[in-house]
């Protein structure tokens, strides 16, 4: 049973460029969340997708956008890259099916995409 897979594993971009990161959720999961983890910090919530719609959003600018496809996979897009966007981007999946609490379906994280902006 494949867990959460993310691609690419590493990426180097230049300031001002745009980047797309991809995520395939764990089999049976329908909800995908994206987190940014700066070096030496805890993950910060970017947004969450369920039923192909953005359901919740953290404190990130509109340069960060996403998409969820009918097969539950997801993309994170970042436009006009800044040096400060350099981080590990984590995708996490869970089985939500409209539930308020995730206690019975905790987050499963991928190993992330390391983005370096030069």
């Amino acid at each position: 049973d494949a867990g959460v897979t993310q691609s690419p594993t590493h990426l180097i971009k230049t300031r001002g460029q745009q980047v797309t990161l991809r995520c395939s959720p764990k089999s049976g999961h329908d909800t995908v969340s994206w987190y940014q983890q700066a070096l030496g910090q805890g993950p910060q919530f970017i947004f969450q997708y369920y039923e192909e719609e953005e359901r919740q959003r953290g404190n990130f600018p509109d340069r960060f956008s996403g998409h969820q496809f009918p097969n539950y996979s997801s993309e994170l897009n970042v436009n006009a890259l800044l040096l400060g966007d350099s981080a590990l981007y984590l995708c996490a999946s869970s089985f939500r099916q409209g539930a308020v609490s995730s206690y019975n379906s905790p987050l499963h994280f991928g190993n992330g995409t390391r983005l370096t902006v030069t």
């Binding site: 910090q41 993950p43 359901r55 919740q56 869970s94 995730s102 206690y103 987050l107 992330g112």
Partner: protein
């Protein structure tokens, strides 16, 4: 505003010792309180979680203690092993939006 505050930032423990990591939270509407373990180059993995109606939960060598009145919870690792060396994050979800602590880097000396 930081929703979850974690301490210490780093911890060195001898093999066989007890590792203790603490977290404090602000929002009393948090749903439950999980701990995640992260090894270098890997994503965080769920270690153990507790609901706010329970004061303690134990799974093997890992125990969560929860103090609702103080709005604090802690992770205890008994008989710490070198393989436990990793970064640990406390977290608190609010309607499926997770707030993470800043992490504790644990180093267990052989």
């Amino acid at each position: 505003q930081q929703q979850v505050k974690q301490s210490p930032q780093s911890l060195i423990v001898q093999k066989g010792g007890i590792s203790i990591i603490n977290c404090a939270y602000e929002n009393t509407a948090f749903d439950y309180f999980p701990w995640y373990q992260q090894f270098p180059g890997k994503g965080p993995a769920l270690l153990i979680a507790i609901r706010p109606d329970v004061s303690e939960k134990k799974e093997g060598r890992f125990t969560i203690s929860f103090n609702k009145s103080a709005k604090q919870f802690s992770l205890h690792i008994m008989d710490s092993q070198p393989g436990d060396s990793a970064t640990y994050f406390c977290a608190a979800p609010y309607f499926n939006k997770f707030y993470f602590g800043s992490g504790t880097k644990l180093n267990v000396k052989p």
